[in-house]
């Protein structure tokens, strides 16, 4: 189980890094999204893997899972969701203003001497 989760996080991160290094904005956005998935999973796992145990105190429970990473990951998900939405809008705006979807917005002669 641990190995599987580790591999999943590793693959997500590798894919995210690869895509984030592309030249077009759309793959970059996808790469950032994959990176945020990877880190969310990573944060969640930091409370250790546990199956079928409650996070809050109960008389019947024999063991507990750590509730804090769950709260952290919820915050992280909300933030990364908002950031992704923002970067998509920004990428669209850049596409509109720069006339192409390259991250450096090439091919603008009048920008050269600035």
């Amino acid at each position: 189980m641990e190995a599987l989760i580790a591999v999943v996080i590793g693959v997500l991160t590798a894919g995210g890094v690869f895509l984030a290094l592309r030249g077009q904005t759309f793959p970059v956005v996808l790469g950032l999204t994959l990176l945020s998935y990877a880190v969310n999973l990573f944060l969640f796992i930091m409370g250790r893997l546990a199956i079928g145990v409650p996070p809050v105190i109960s008389a019947a429970a024999e063991a507990y899972t750590d509730p804090l990473p769950q709260a952290l990951v919820l915050t992280a998900i909300v933030i990364s969701f908002g950031m992704t939405a923002f970067v998509i809008v920004l990428a669209l705006k850049a596409r509109g203003e720069l006339g192409n979807d390259h991250v450096d917005g090439l091919q603008h002669e009048e920008d050269r001497n600035r």
């Binding site: 880190v39 409370g47 990473p69 952290l72 669209l92 509109g96 991250v103």
Partner: protein, 589 residues
Amino acid sequence: MSGFMHLPILPVVLPLFAGILLLALRNRSLALQRGVSMLAALALVPLALALLGTTADGTHLVYKLGNWMAPYGIVLVADRLAAWMLLTTALLAVFALLFAIKAPSPSIGLGAPLPPSPADARGRGEGIGEGADAGPLCPSGPTPTASPPPPQPSPQMGEGADAGPTPTYDSNGRHFHVLFQLQLFGLNGAFLTGDLFNLFVFFEILLLASYGLLLHGGGRLRVKAGLHYVVINLVGSTLFLFAVGTLYGVTGTLNMADLAVKLAATPAEHAALVQSAALLLFGVFALKAALLPLYLWLPAAYAHTSAPVAALFAIMTKVGAYSILRVYSLIAGDSAGPLTQLLDAWLAPLALATLVLGMLGVIASTALRQQAAYLVVVSIGSLLLAFGLGSTEAIAAGLYYLPHTTFASAALFLLADSISRARGELADRFESGPAMPGARVMGGLFFVVAIALAGLPPLSGFLGKFMLLRAALDSPLLIWVWSIVLITGLLGVIALARSGSMLFYRTHTAHDPASLLRPATSTLAPVAGLLLLVVGMTIWAGPVSDYAADTAAQLRSPQHYINAVLGAAPETAAGRASGDMSLIAGATP
């Protein structure tokens, strides 16, 4: 008494509520929005002064949110360092806001203004959910055509004759004041929080507001620089979370004081793990601070955003420097287990390299705004060099230098804007141009700013550098520090002298003097105000440097901070620690 008790949280909630109020007032007159925003910014100054007065005797004001006990709940901690940063931010914000309200905003310097396009319309209100269907976007004034608007504020109505139809920076697009206040919210929160994950949250708040401010007003170059800035900071946030997750996985806590205790007692088999997490965290803070390999985003972003925003951003890199100082003084002090003196091998050499490359950028700059942006990189090099040397005197030198360089860089950004408007279409490029109207006043101000930034006597830049050089006397890096700081100082003098003579002396008569705008006194007043602060830091250098020395001494003995947060009795801390461990152990199947 209760007001005093809640003092540490006031600088955080005040801008938040002001921001929310301004969002509700977004369809009201611009004058009202300006008044509310200015009032909120001004109110931060006495709050910061009150905190400064309370913490000056070395107390740590600990504010437990929801009254939860320290390692479980989130705490805000106000100490000398936090109060110092709050005061710097508040003073800077007042002048940046004053400039945004008063100065006319040009469209020159940003490439040809594009006609508003539908994509433009969608992009303008980003950052604020409701802005997605933002109304018309012409730089100002009533828009004849335009989509059926949600009631467009008639921005100039409240202005009367004095401002007339001239667009200003805050009327150049919607929600400037909201974003400005939320930026202050994020900054103040980051300075006050005592919890690592909470620091991440405040970082995100200040970054999201900074994205909106950076892009405020639009323009092609701004969008291009903004895209880089946003993407690189999103990657930085991801790395921050990885580091936080690793630290939590090993120690089971995120409270910085508790983290310091737990990390000092890290068993040997986890040493590599916590070291890599701490270095990853350092990488993130270095990215925010624009330290050597990670500074490339800064010049483009700062040079292309609007002047008041660039001025406010002068404090943004210092947030990274602050975080390095705060976190590593706690978790990597003299007795911190596997993390002891972790950054010694990295911080000072990287800061020296940043100083060199930043100064090369200053010399190679082709425009004043760009030069100002590289001077921010140089100042972060000096600042982190002081923090990296690590002795009490060096940290004190850095803390004295920090407000000085913040105010001086901000003044240069604001002045560069007036200069660029007075030179017509040449803007702020270093080319021989027409004689500027109002050149005497601006030249005088430029002279003072240049003296401050280059670190020449008699202003505080010289005092800060002198303190830094003296603190380096017993450092193993002595030769490197002295040679690099002095040579880059000389290069800075040369570069600024060249810029000044190019802008003010190598001029010819304008072909069309009417096209050049004489800067209004109200535009230059914020610059003069910031310079007065620098002069004040020089005149009262004694008390200010004493305070900086006290702050440095406080940072060098983190045990007080830990005791203040966790409660003084060490045995309860130990008991709580074992309780935590059993909880974690119980969680592991």
